[in-house]
Amino acid sequence: MIVRVATEGQYRLDDGQAAKLNELDNEVVAAVDAGDEDRFRELFDQMLSLARSGSGLGEDELEESDVILPPPDLSLEEAAAEFTGEGLIPG
């Protein structure tokens, strides 16, 4: 699967990582709902780290992303608009 970190770049991850990413996604939604800034920051950082653990896409690769994570400097306020319901990834 291909994951983009907005404003940063795209990474290619094993499809097996999708479940982990989805799990974090749901936890972030819960943290955002609770207005827990520290917890949100911690989980979102984990999501970013997971994405960055993949291999970066080459400059000549034109691929559509399966998942687009918001920019790394996302504020809790902005997150409230992105991480709602099922989060970035359904399910």
């Binding site: 404003t7 996604d25 400059e59 034109l62 691929e63 918001p70 992105e82 319901g85 970035l88 990834i89």
Partner: protein, 259 residues
């Protein structure tokens, strides 16, 4: 899809399929979308230039403030040497304010530098992607067989479109941040315009009671008191002769909490 991934790619896909529907010749569509993307690349370059301009402006202000701090420190010492404590206090109040403005500017200049680096990096990446798109476009055009070409075009255009949207977002965020800094730069300009950091001997006769009152509110009087006491010990009242200037003590002190 509830999240951003859904929204962003839906918009891109909608735009691209509209483009493809309209086109009679896929080759033409490709050329057209490449041209469009190149235009957008120019906007990114302009965005980088804007950030650089803002950064330069803040840097200039910062230099000016540093000079004011040194100047006001000198004036305070001169005033103390001449036994004019009120004038010395006024100079120190202005110095405290200038120092706290300086402390505000510093992280902002650093932030703009980071923005500039990131945008430059984004621009470079986008240019590479566009180059890849251009190459691919020629390949697709050469092997043009309707159905297959349509799929390939859609894929390439979506890929480059997503990149474009992402750079657009990076630009927007950089612009938002720059906007906040402009407001700060504006505030410093206004303080200057009001004569806050002007030569105190001129101010004295000009009757700037208003500025003095505002300054007292803005600066922490305990900081000013402490510095005044320190300076008194160094200079000594009415020591005569030239002012005892301690070079280097001007910019180094902490301005405290600031306004």
């Amino acid at each position: 899809m509830a999240g951003m991934a859904g929204r962003m790619s839906t918009v891109i896909k909608a735009k691209i399929s509209k483009l493809l529907d309209r086109a009679e010749d896929p080759g033409e569509t490709l050329d057209y979308s490449y041209e469009k993307q190149m235009e957008l690349l120019q906007n990114v370059k302009k965005g980088v230039a804007d950030v650089v301009t803002s950064k330069k402006r803040l840097q200039m202000q910062s230099q000016k403030l540093e000079q004011q701090v040194v100047k006001l420190d000198t004036q305070a010492r001169q005033a103390l040497s001449a036994g004019n404590e009120d004038l010395a206090r006024a100079a120190l109040e202005r110095k405290t304010l200038a120092q706290s403005e300086l402390q505000n500017l510093d992280p902002q200049i650093k932030e703009l530098e980071a923005q500039q680096d990131q945008l430059t990096e984004n621009e470079k990446k986008l240019r590479a992607k566009l180059e890849a798109f251009r190459t691919k476009k020629e390949v697709i055009k050469a092997q043009y067989s309707a159905a297959e070409a349509q799929v390939q075009i859609s894929e390439a255009a979506t890929g480059v479109g997503e990149e474009m949207a992402d750079v657009g977002m990076a630009m927007q965020r950089a612009m938002d941040k720059t906007e906040n800094m402009r407001a700060r730069a504006q505030a410093v300009d206004e303080l200057e315009k009001a004569g806050t950091f002007e030569d105190l001997t001129q101010l004295d006769s000009g009757g700037n009671d208003d500025i003095d009152r505002q300054l007292k509110e803005l600066t922490s009087s305990s900081d000013v008191d402490a510095e005044l006491a320190k300076m008194k010990a160094e200079v000594g009242p009415g020591s005569g002769g030239g002012p005892a200037l301690e070079a280097g003590s001007g910019g180094g002190e902490k301005a405290g909490e600031g306004p």
